[in-house]
Symmetry: C2
Subunit: 230 residues, 2 copies
C-alpha cells in the first residue's frame, strides 16, 4: 500500500484509513465470519436484481484489489466508476488506467458530467451514465458523507466496511463487515448459483436486516476483544 502512494494511486491519507481498517479487521479475527458471508450473499443478490448496478472504486480499493473488482463487475454486469475522496484529474486518470490495466473494458469517472446532490464540491462529481443513473451502487471503503448522499439520492447502497459503527456502515442498506480483498472474490464465486435462482435472491433480500447484521458484527468484535487476551 505504501508503494501505491508513490504510484499516485493511493492518497497519503488513504494509508491512515487503511490502518483504521486493519485495526477493525484484527478485532474481526482477520477472517470472513458467517455474518459477513450472509451480507455478501444478499449483496450479490441485490446486484443481480439491479437494472443499472455500479461499483464505485477509490484509490485504496484499486490498490488493494483492482482485479477482483473487474471480475465481480463482469460477473454481475456492473459498470465500474472511479470516485476519489481527494480528487485530482491526474489521480482519476491514473486510477482509471490502473483498473483498465487490470482487465476492465472501461472505468468511468474521467469525464464526470453530473453532480450527486447533497455533498460539497469535488466529491459530488460522478458520471451520468454511471453512478448518477445507477439503481444499485456497491461502495467498498466509502466515506460517510458520500454514502449518506447516495442513500438520500435514492440509490440502493451496498457498503464494504470493517467498522460496523461507521457512518457508512449505518447509512448503507447492506453493509458487508469484511476485508475487501476477502470479500470481492467470495462474492464473484456466489454469482453463478444466485443468477440461476431468483427465488433464493428474493428470499435472501427479504430476510435481511442491516441493523441486526451490524449488531452481530459488533458482537463478534466484542467477543474477540475478550478472547484475544493472553
Amino acid at each position: 500500500m505504501a508503494n501505491m502512494v508513490e504510484e499516485g494511486i493511493v492518497a497519503p491519507t488513504g494509508l491512515i484509513a487503511h490502518g483504521r481498517g486493519e485495526a477493525f479487521d484484527y478485532l474481526l479475527g482477520e477472517r470472513t465470519t458467517d455474518n459477513g458471508r450472509r451480507a455478501e450473499m444478499v449483496a450479490v443478490a441485490t446486484l443481480l436484481n439491479g437494472n443499472r448496478p455500479v461499483i464505485s472504486v477509490n484509490g485504496n480499493t484499486a490498490a488493494l484489489c483492482a482485479k477482483d473488482v473487474v471480475e465481480l463487475a463482469e460477473a454481475v454486469k456492473a459498470r465500474i466508476e472511479v470516485n476519489l475522496f481527494h480528487r485530482t484529474e491526474e489521480r482519476v486518470q491514473r486510477v482509471c488506467a490502473f483498473i483498465e490495466e487490470a482487465g476492465a473494458k472501461e472505468a468511468l469517472g474521467r469525464n464526470a458530467d453530473a453532480l450527486l446532490p447533497g455533498i460539497s464540491s469535488d466529491r459530488a462529481r460522478c458520471t451520468k451514465e454511471g453512478i448518477y443513473s445507477a439503481d444499485v451502487v456497491l461502495v467498498p471503503l466509502e466515506d460517510g458523507d458520500r454514502a449518506e448522499a447516495l442513500v438520500k439520492f435514492g440509490k440502493k447502497v451496498i457498503a464494504i466496511d470493517l467498522n460496523p459503527l461507521s457512518r457508512t456502515a449505518k447509512a448503507a442498506h447492506i453493509t458487508i463487515v469484511n476485508e475487501v480483498t476477502r470479500s470481492l472474490p467470495a462474492m464473484t464465486a456466489m454469482v453463478p448459483e444466485l443468477r440461476r435462482n431468483g427465488d433464493k435472491r428474493l428470499a435472501l433480500i427479504n430476510a435481511f436486516d442491516n441493523q441486526q447484521n451490524l449488531h452481530e458484527a459488533m458482537e463478534i468484535m466484542r467477543a474477540n476483544l475478550s478472547s484475544m487476551q493472553s
Copy 2:
C-alpha cells in the same frame, strides 16, 4: 500527519500505524480514562525513580508531539533518543533536527554506536550513552519486537499504546493505553507533585499490575463498542 511524510519525518507505513491507533482511540472514546491516568502516574513515578531514563522517539511520535516529548524529558531529566523502525541515516538526521528545533538541547541517535541484543539489523541500533545504558525507557508507539528486546535486555519499559492487546502493550512493564498527545502533557503536569513525594511514587509503583491495567482498558473498549451503537 500526511504532510509529515513529505517532510521526511514520518515513513509512509507510519501513516498505516497511525490509522490503527485512530481506530483503537475511537474504541477508547477519544479521551483519557481513569485507567490511562493511573498508568501515566505510575509511569512518571518510574521515570523519576530511574537513574538513567530515556525517551525513545520515532517518526510518528516526533511528528505528533515533538514539543511534548521535549517538555517531559526536561521535567523528568530524561535523555531523548531517536530510534526509527525504517531507519535511514537521512531520516535519523531529520528527526533529530526536528526534535532539537522543538527545543531539545540534544536528540541522541545520529551516531548509533551500540546494538540492542535480540533483534535484527537496523532496529537494534542505539547509542551507548542513551538507550543502551538506560535503566528506564519510555517508548511511545513502539513495535513489538523492539519492546520485547528492551525488556529482555533488562530495561524497565514504559509503553504508550492504544491497542491493549498488542505485543508492545503486553511486553511492557507499564502500558499507558492513551493517545500520545493527550498523554505526554498530562505526564509532564504530574511531575512536580510526584517529584516532591517519594512515598507516593513508591506506593503507586507497588500497587500497579500491568495485566490488570490492560484488562481494564480492554473492558472499557468492550463497553464502548456496545454503547456506541445507535
